[in-house]
Symmetry: C2
Subunit: 261 residues, 2 copies
């Protein structure tokens, strides 16, 4: 009997060439499909909700697959996680990707098409000199930042806008570049600046360009008053730089309208 | 005029194939020598105090070089660190190795031969499930550990002993396998167990075998009463497993007898 499974997955993006499977590269999708196929004993093909780029991390990526296989879900998660961690020896070094949860869904459910929104976190480290041990986990910005200006700019991005100016070329062609941002917060946590954004969907590199634009406003390269013009221009050249992949974390994928925000 | 320089260096070992220069691999020594040669404008050859293996980190590695070059030391450190961080743009992503300090030494001084001792730290993460983001920075041990037994065993290792049982093959041949451990502590820090050891010198993999033996005592695979026998046996097979490189940090190299401990 065909089963329809939804996985919640976390991974350290520094160890992978991104989510999407590709030849001659270690990808999250490829690594997971190999392990799932092994223990389900059928060829597993995953539908990921977000094609995270190389270096981007995930705390709550979602991916679905369906097939006729026998192993109970809790046993599957245990076996796959042990396999990905390098064996059954609990003293072994843990792996860089882990299934956090597996759920049996109704037949018609689709991980990507049924997603109602996403939440991303972006971590900026302001330590000086930069902490070399966080190179793959945060964006080091040592210039002084005007955080109030960044917050005011962020508020102007919230809402439903055409975010074409905040899209890199190279992603999939989209029917529309209009998106809704529900929340966009800039919080200080110790030496870190943590930017969180949730919305109904994000264009290619949109979060990284939002962050880069906020940083450029923080350093004074751009003015907070320019945000409205940048959005209206629909011109990528007008927005700020693309912040590096390393600081970006996919935190959550929402499936219920009520979870949004 | 020949100048004799002592560097203090930190690096994230996960990004390098160890300290020692080798063809077709990114090593700390190779990376630093290239940058130093560029800004000193002479071929620089580094004498590292410790040939850390692939994956081993350093907070205070020391390395020396000498040569006739003009650039003042503070300018050299600034230029090399900027170069290693990826450019002069302070917004750029920081690198995985950094010179913390550079000192002008007397002509006869030698970074390795004059070292009087070293201090290492080893980090064990007891989080369950293991934190995938610390895979390269700590050793995940999820089995329960008898920390008091580990502490008592550690105390028996302190002092001057023949540590042949705590040496891996593959290192350089040593005249003697007698070493003195000054301090060996096992401390709980949140979910982590932090083991620190200082001594006058360490055999190949000695710290990792000490830690592996302590973990095996903590899990009950070995008994704390066996430590004396293991040392006296001089037999590598009797000691515990070699803990992985990822949890190991070279903290400090001592040059003055008074600094020891």
């Amino acid at each position: 009997m065909e089963r329809n499974i939804l996985l919640t997955i976390e991974y350290d993006g520094s160890q992978f060439s991104g989510w999407q499977i590709q030849p001659n590269a270690v990808t999250v999708q490829g690594t997971l499909e190999e392990a799932l196929s092994k223990f389900c004993d059928i060829p597993v093909k995953l539908n990921g909700t977000s094609r995270t780029d190389a270096g981007v991390h995930a705390l709550g990526q979602r991916a679905g697959f369906s097939g006729d296989f026998g192993i109970p879900l809790d046993k599957l998660v245990f076996a796959v996680n042990n396999y990905l961690a390098g064996g059954m020896n609990s003293l072994n070094h843990v792996g860089s990707v882990r299934i956090k949860e597996a759920e049996e869904m109704a037949p018609g459910f689709h991980a990507r098409f049924d997603a109602k929104g996403k939440k991303y976190r972006y971590i900026i480290s302001r330590e000086k000199p930069a902490d070399i041990f966080r190179r793959k986990y945060a964006y080091s910005v040592t210039k002084p930042l005007d955080i109030e200006a960044m917050r005011e700019a962020a508020q102007q991005m919230v809402g439903t806008h055409d975010f074409k100016a905040f899209q890199s070329s190279g992603g999939h062609e989209r029917k529309t570049t209009v998106r809704t941002i529900y929340r966009l917060t800039v919080e200080e946590k110790g030496d870190d600046l943590v930017i969180e954004v949730s919305g109904d969907g994000f264009l290619y590199n949109m979060v990284r360009i939002i962050v880069g634009t906020l940083v450029d406003i923080g350093t004074g390269r751009l003015a907070k008053e320019q945000v409205k013009d940048i959005i209206e221009s629909k011109d990528r050249q007008r927005a700020g730089h693309t912040a590096p992949a390393e600081g970006l974390y996919l935190v959550e994928v929402y499936y219920e309208q009520t979870q949004l925000g």
